[in-house]
Symmetry: C2
Subunit: 135 residues, 2 copies
Amino acid sequence: MYQIGELAKRLGLSQATLRFYEREGIIAPAERADNGYRYYNSLHERQLRFVLRGKQAGLSNSDMRELVHLKAHAEESTCREVKDIVDLKLAKVKEKLAELQAFERSLSDLSAACCGSDELATHCAILEALDEFVD
Amino acid sequence: MYQIGELAKRLGLSQATLRFYEREGIIAPAERADNGYRYYNSLHERQLRFVLRGKQAGLSNSDMRELVHLKAHAEESTCREVKDIVDLKLAKVKEKLAELQAFERSLSDLSAACCGSDELATHCAILEALDEFVD
DNA sequence: CTTGACCTTAAACATTGCTTTAGGGTTTAA
DNA sequence: TTAAACCCTAAAGCAATGTTTAAGGTCAAG
């Protein structure tokens, strides 16, 4: 059993983040001593690591809240429910990826068009490309 | 000369967004009639399209505020200043892209591991992968 | 003179994921 | 007993990009 400061240090999180996760229902509430202090054991730590791995994979806090719940009630839950969360996020990531790839191309094209020197910007190819080509 | 409602319609923006851009200093303030109404001309519209193209390329509001300023003062500005904005954003986009690609891989791997059926989640491969492999 | 369609503002709200602040108990060691 | 190092809460703040709400002028038509 250890206090929040130690758990925070072990996981590389701030104490405020741990309290935040608890408030958000992402992790199970810690046990409390009579003075109100939170006390944690290895199960809490394990649950936190579960959450951190999910976040590393790009899952959000609310995703992890759901997954933690499904895991805690695995007897009444299905693989489908679990996989749906992952697949939905995967679809969103792919969408975002496509958007960012489009940005990358646009920005590369703009950058390539411009000399980037001390020339006056009056004829800068970037500004011209973004402006209307009024004939 | 036309009012905000027409300009919004032409550009596919809301009136609130146009006012917001003006407040943020992203576009030049509209002219005002005696009743306080904003009035726009083709130059305003052109500047807005400039901003919208930049945003399509992934540039932020503050990027566009700067670019609009550089364009308006092109005589005292350099290509370098313009290109720096684009290149900085490009670098950020590439960073974000790398992060999202890592997410995509992680999520794909998770998804592939799980049957996604009505099976009980008690042995779900996703939950196991996120959990610790305690031997 | 009233109705509907315009327009105005300031300020609050929404989203995500925390961090920071303010104000205050508890514990331990010297 | 006092100082350092713990812990607690509620609430506000931040980042970015708008959207929504509340309250209220203006204008043209019938």
